[in-house]
Amino acid sequence: MSTKPIVVLIHGMGTHTAPKPKSNERGSFGNECINTFNAAFQMYPSLENDKIENKVDFIEIHYNHIFDNFRKEMAENGQTFNDLLQGAGILAKIPGLVNKVIEFESSLGNDEFFNTHWLDVILYKLYFGEYVRVHVAEKLGEIIAKNGSKNIHILAHSLGTAVAHDTLSKLYNDGYADNDDIADLSPVTHKLSSVWQIANVSCLANSVMPVANPYKSLVKPGSAGVTDTMMNIHHKFDPFTLPKKFVRPDNGKWIPSNVFKTKYKDIETSAITQVNTHSITQYLHDPSVHLYLFNALGIKIPPKSQRDKAEEAYKSLVIDKAEAKLKKKLNGLVKTNAATLKDYVDAGNRLMKFIESMGV
């Protein structure tokens, strides 16, 4: 049982190496987060001699290997068929549609961007997503069983925001009882401390085959939600967060106004210090993000003079003309509530072109 706050990290799409808790090895997402927090500590004299691991325990919930496994299995099956059919000399006799299915399956083994990123999103929206949610819920349940829920903070990024939202939405239940077989927790008794949705795509991910509407689910702060506080963090020029973005007005409908003002924070960042504006390190390195996270974790906030200097230093990292170039690339991107997963792919392609144009 930890006496420190616990941050549960849930990664996004793409390739991430798995943590190995038994040999005390972090996964790649954990390393990215922790290294960036420690780089952020270096921005403040009052924190520079410390390490975030001394103040917080990090636990990664990793699901990338599940998608990788499905992808490889489909690719191997497709490849086996392709080889056997060519050997039997009947490829030419089968309808083109069937050929395309076999070719597509066998191509899934290639480590192309589509297979390692977009396919994660597609697989998550298929029934494999429920397996991922069950896996994540099981790991989260183990963490709460060991530590209680009061000091648990969830930090999710990109596709991980949809995974976190959907899992919590299914795991927590207003009708919780401990004498039934339903695998659930109570939003009051097992309430979490905070949920950090960084580059939140939960609305977009729920636009097809919806698991739960993020505007109506229990994943919200306050007495009626699964968490005491909640942060929604997005970059003004992160194209993934633009179509169907998570936006909540303070009108008393989602949560009471006093809860909205004290327990919910929408943070929009705009400084471009890395060409990949979707990167978790871009988000966490920004003082306008990490200071709120430090505050929620009970880390003493540096005095104003240090914060001002850190802000100035961070601004000096802004890449020249990147904003204007990226704005141009994003021109015409569907940003409204009518956006679909196709617009999400469009957003990603535009970011990739921008990154290429910057010579990275």
Binding site: V98, V134, N179, V188, M209
Partner: protein
Amino acid sequence: MTFIKLFGLLILLTVNSGISVNAADKCENFDAEPSHFISLYNDSKLLGKSICDTLGATVDLDSLLGKYVGFADNLDKTIDESFNTTSYYNDLKVQVKEFKSLSRLGVNKAELPYFRVTRNTTDFTDTHLYFSFDSWDTNGKVDTNSVECNKVPTCEELLTALEIAINQYKEPYVRLSAGATTKNISVLRKSWDRYFEEARSQTLWDAALTTKLEEDYLTQDKLVGPMQRQWFLVHPSLVIENVSDAIDGEETQQGLAVEWVGVNWWNKETSPVGIPIGVSLASIYSSRPTVDDSGHGVMFTFNNSFSIGWAKHDDEDGLYVSVDFLGLLTAKKERWSDYKDKIKELKFD
């Protein structure tokens, strides 16, 4: 006979006592003693153990009412004794009044609030500490920069100690009940593992159709195990076909079967016939000079592994069976075994 009965009874008693000792240990899973409010902390632990011991049982309103109300009254008394000269005494009393009201409704294990002491999440320049029971949305607060908060013990030290003292009334229950829930989730995860080990392999298109047709089941507002049916769309299989009317030497040939649309009950426990069974509308493609290359008919799959089909090639009938499925299946099981090893590596100790 008497000896065997006695031996059986002894084993039963040993097993049962083992379980109860284990459960009791887990209901002693408290946070370390705070630096203040020890009496309240001990009272909180007593209630905490009693609530935790009811895990899995229906609690009638009266059974723990006295302990719950007594603890809330003790909390009220502690606030009166320790905070009555502070500026935030009235704010604390408002919180306690809410908790006392809640306690008088009896123990509801779905509504055991934490007492939380937090900073302002939305404004890190705010020097106040906020405190509340998190089952309602009304906070109390105190400025940590005030004179009273800089005396020893500080407001933060006192409120943090109070937080620890109060929350023991629910802490062991939270942990033990989350453990019980995790066991239920593990059952679901194992059923998914079984699905991926035993059910038929699917292409991405099969998976998409299955997801669409089983959407109502999969999108229930609770975690679920695998669907009972798999659906197939343009699914290819390699088969051996026999067309008895073909010319000599060409009766038996390798071919490709395509299930245009099909369904498979993969789980024998929920299959309509007691064994895993599937049926598909299928075509077969093979190469014989005297028989039409394509034939159309139906295909049945048994036990998720063996398929048999019939196809009509113009006027000739063809019968076919799936081939090399065993090899594919073995490879699949090896992969899942490898995957499960990875899952074990990820387990949090």
